[in-house]
């Protein structure tokens, strides 16, 4: 009967598995803190619904959804990822709306003594490593690449590039002082004010806007649409602006 505690444990863990009222929201990494708050506020208004949040780089989320992951809402950090989702028929294009905007910033470790005040300063020999999202799969990396290409700095900076899997990893590398500088969103820099400082706000060729849409295969499209509407409501906007996100 030594199996008994093991079986009890199995049953206990099984009881907490997903239930029918779970609303799965796949959101870009930069939305982590904001959407946790939005999810709580939504649950308070809709007591029957449990919001399950899934954060990763936008293209990773898109790949999961396109492969049939049971998500209901998709919120990405750039239009490219959402365009790919439309092309893959992963979302319902009629529900696509921009709900927030952001800014790209260059951050350095809080105690950095390097003279970095603009992206052009990254060309200096004293700057060895610069972190940014992998442009192939991370929106903040695509914004970074486009901004640096516009300024003619991409070749020089990418030679020192450390590719991160999502924006929060770039932020972590800077906060730990493992890189000399990194590109993140203004909202990410704001949550680690004690460890990183903003050296410059970097203009991007295209504005940084966040689209949201209901996933095409959602089993509860009405609930998903209600969540999307809540994000864009006055209350939702207020929560988002509390984390530094601006109106689109």
């Amino acid at each position: 009967m030594r199996l008994r505690p093991f079986v009890a444990l199995l049953l206990l863990t099984g009881a907490s598995a997903a239930s029918a009222a779970d609303l799965v929201v796949s959101a870009a990494s930069s939305l982590t803190d904001a959407f946790q708050a939005v999810g709580k506020a939504y649950e308070a208004k809709h007591p029957g619904t449990h919001v399950v949040l899934n954060f990763a780089a936008s293209d990773v989320l898109l790949r999961q959804i396109a492969s049939g992951a049971p998500a209901d809402v998709f919120a990405s950090a750039d239009q490219t990822a959402m365009d790919k989702a439309v092309a893959a028929k992963a979302i319902d294009p009629a529900t696509r709306k921009d709900f927030a905007s952001n800014r790209l910033v260059l951050v350095v470790p809080q105690d950095s003594k390097a003279a970095i005040g603009s992206p052009a300063d990254l060309k200096a020999d004293s700057v060895k490593r610069v972190a940014y999202g992998d442009p192939a799969s991370v929106p903040v990396g695509r914004y970074t690449k486009a901004a640096l290409e516009q300024q003619g700095l991409w070749d020089a900076v990418s030679a020192k590039g450390v590719l991160a899997q999502n924006v929060r990893q770039s932020l972590d590398y800077v906060a730990r002082g493992e890189v000399d500088a990194g590109f993140v969103f203004a909202t990410d820099a704001a949550i680690m004010k004690d460890k990183v400082k903003v050296a410059a706000t970097v203009p991007t060729p295209k504005p940084i806007t966040y689209p949201i849409a209901v996933v095409a295969g959602s089993k509860q499209p009405a609930d998903a649409a209600a969540f999307e509407a809540f994000v864009q409501s006055a209350e939702g906007r207020k929560i988002l602006s509390g984390f530094g996100f601006e109106a689109p």
């Binding site: 192939a136 450390v162 590719l163 002082g177 493992e178």
Partner: protein, 224 residues
């Protein structure tokens, strides 16, 4: 084809270094433990086996906290001019740590299976301790150690989690095959990923076959 050869050569370099380091470290520690008579021995063994059971991301985190620029030993390493974070040497450290228990466990079992009477006979015939180790214990344990080293090589070839955390994803410098595959899958480059997956699988199988075919022949000649 650079996108394939560069990560492949880097992966082989990292895996070979990790295996070589583990052969020295794993054999030395295993021999020491197999001759150590103390209750602390099993505690030491358990700690040394931890890398086998801990998630690689936990190991990567430990390495980052210990060896990073601001880590516990960061300043010390910096003074010695050793940089591990975001370098291929960092990938070697990660692979070595992850594969260490495979060599250590195999080597310890092999040393404990060596008949102590043979070692005693060597001493009676006037061999010094070093000679007893290199001419009796090590050759007798070589088969088990080789088996462990092969597993360690294959494990190092496939190491991903700890490597990504400490060595990062720097194409051409620290991007090993497994990291390149991960990046390709995330970016939706299924074709690139499929080619690299096939190359990794074939390389591992060939390495295991080749070594398995070479090692016994060599050992057969050197066996007493």
């Amino acid at each position: 084809m650079d996108s394939l050869w560069v990560p492949l050569l880097l992966t082989l370099k990292v895996a070979l270094w990790a295996t070589a380091l583990n052969l020295v470290l794993g054999v030395a520690v295993a021999f020491g433990l197999s001759r150590w008579r103390s209750h602390a021995r099993e505690v030491a063994d358990a700690i040394l086996t931890l890398p086998l059971v801990l998630p690689p991301t936990v190991l990567g985190y430990y390495l980052l906290v210990l060896l990073g620029r601001r880590g516990v030993f960061g300043e010390w390493l910096d003074r010695l001019g050793i940089e591990l974070v975001f370098t291929w040497q960092g990938a070697v450290v990660a692979s070595t740590l992850v594969a260490f228990p495979l060599v250590h466990k195999a080597a310890r079992a092999a040393f404990e299976a060596v008949d102590p009477q043979l070692e005693s006979a060597g001493r009676v015939l006037g061999l010094r301790e070093a000679a007893v180790f290199f001419r009796i214990s090590l050759p007798l344990a070589a088969r088990g150690i080789t088996a462990g080293a092969l597993l360690a090589f294959a494990r190092a070839m496939g190491e991903f989690g700890a490597t990504l955390m400490i060595a990062g994803n720097l194409p051409g410098r620290t991007q090993t095959l497994s990291v390149a595959i991960y990046a390709a899958v995330q970016a939706g480059d299924d074709r690139g990923a499929a080619i690299m997956v096939a190359v990794t699988s074939v390389t591992c199988v060939v390495a295991l076959l080749l070594a398995g075919w070479l090692a016994p022949a060599h050992l057969r000649r050197s066996r007493p």
